[in-house]
Symmetry: C2
Subunit: 314 residues, 2 copies
């Protein structure tokens, strides 16, 4: 069955909203454990009870079942906390506690407090265990051929562990701790699409963020139902007709130059990686292709592409 | 003191968020009365207790103090409900109950249910009494002079009852019941900026929505603290250098052609009508002028420009 654009949004922005005190929202909120850092009153993420349970009695952590809060008590600086988190995760990886840790990336993601201060860094593969906000960049590359807008659309390598063979945005990647969004974009443009650095620096345009609260399913790999609230910095680049992105590593199988209709058709068939469909929808909205006249759920879609996350963000 | 961009957002998107079960949110929610229509379970807006109180014992309305719900019981079709609402409001206007009704506009605003069906129409000036979602169009008109982007910025007539003398977007107006966003835009472009209809139809580009939950202050006129959740359909138009918007009615004093710096400077000084500052911020984000590199509150700002309203929308 064809997916509507709202279906595509809902697939990725799956955590319920508090609208009208919705029971679904309250049940969700009351099921999870909050992650906190000692000395700070804010939830930094939501964790499955089955995940929080594993931290019971472990040094540097304190589990409060009444308040449903897991607190990182080890360390009083970002460096010390990061070390405490790493020690715990390495041990858990060793004992094979969590499937997501089998995909250890040796890449650190930052977790921020309400003052935008770095609280700690966490190994990328572990971030969904804690349900903390993660950050990425997504670029839509397009060109105009005889006045018609065409979108460069890569297919992910079928061998990729996550979402293999699905369609993607021209360039996309996570932002490691300490890296700025734009520098991350420039790097990924070279690695994933062989785009010339100077071209990217002069032509890529920041166009906002797409934010959503993803609840992981089988396709993400590892444990399901882990929370993954995400911020994607979105960029557009209009490429000259003679510039063609080319796979620069083994992550992309092929780039297609597709019309808007071809992109929308593939979206309806569910061929896009879920969060890439959202970035594509945001592009279509900003470029006046998706409008209130042709999209019944326009208002809800535009809002949900920019969800206000409940946790501190950068 | 100079206003930050987040200050500007907060002025307009003033209703608290449920983040982390914030006390401010719960107190707000528990203070107001929900507006409902008989046979529907959804809140359509939030009303001040002092406003809901006035509907006690009035035909066609039922006030439930325990559940804090005011229900429109009169009528079973949109037409009948609209008539019941009108009858009540005309009587209240007669008796001088509400200051906002002194600005009676003879213009109807639609109120929708969860299935996007029209539930009833309500006189524009009365909509904040009920706290229902209202809809409008805002256009940013810009041009490129020697490669530099310049924004057409009108100053509202000083004689205007609301926000007199403040800065505005090139064209803005409310969408009356039965009117489509684009047709409303075309009409307003003629009335407010003397823009040629064909030019607008061929060049104006839909760019999404800006949504926020405004709590009315003195500058809006009438009772304060009334709720005004709003959806603004935003459009961009790039004008040829030789096209100049001209005031077409007595609502605008003058159009300035300003650089981005001049616009941002006026924003910092609080010279823009609050919701127009939000539309301007959205424009600056979409055009890569406001970025994560130069705006500390980028993520929060982008999300809050697209608030997901808790009530059904079109």
């Amino acid at each position: 069955m064809a997916l509507t654009n709202l279906d595509l949004v809902a697939q990725c922005d799956g955590f319920p909203y508090p609208d009208g005190h919705s029971d679904r929202y309250l049940v969700s909120i009351n099921t999870y454990y909050q992650l906190r850092v000692a000395g700070y009153n804010n939830a930094l993420g939501y964790m499955l009870p089955s995940v929080a349970e594993v931290f019971r009695g472990i040094p540097n952590w304190s589990l409060d079942d009444d308040e449903r809060i897991l607190t990182l008590t080890g360390g009083s600086t970002a460096e010390e906390r990061s070390k405490a988190v790493e020690t715990t995760l390495l041990a858990m990886r060793e004992t094979g506690h969590f499937k997501v840790l089998n995909k250890w990336r040796d890449e650190l993601y930052p977790v921020y407090g309400v003052g935008k201060e770095l609280l700690f860094n966490v190994e990328r593969s572990a971030s969904p265990l804690f349900g903390v906000v993660t950050y990425g960049v997504h670029l839509t590359a397009y060109t105009r051929k005889d006045g018609e807008l065409k979108i460069w659309t890569p297919r992910r390598a079928r061998t990729k562990q996550t979402y293999g063979g699905m369609l993607d945005n021209a360039v996309a990647g996570g932002i490691a701790s300490g890296e700025s969004p734009f520098e991350s974009l420039v790097r990924e443009c070279g690695e994933e699409a062989s785009l010339d650095e100077e071209l990217v620096r002069s032509r890529a345009k920041a166009c906002g963020t797409v934010t959503y609260w993803y609840v992981r399913d089988e396709r993400a790999g590892g444990e399901t139902n882990l929370m993954q609230p995400e911020v994607q910095y979105v960029y557009d680049i209009e490429l000259p007709e003679d510039v063609m992105p080319k796979p620069g590593d083994d992550e992309v199988e092929e780039f297609y130059l597709w019309s808007v209709e071809e992109v929308q058709d593939a979206m309806r068939k569910g061929e896009f990686k879920p969060n890439c469909a959202l970035v594509a929808l945001d592009f279509l909205v900003r470029h006046g292709i998706l409008t209130s006249e042709n999209e019944r759920d326009y208002i809800e879609i535009v809002s949900r592409l920019h969800r206000k996350l409940e946790f501190p963000t950068l």
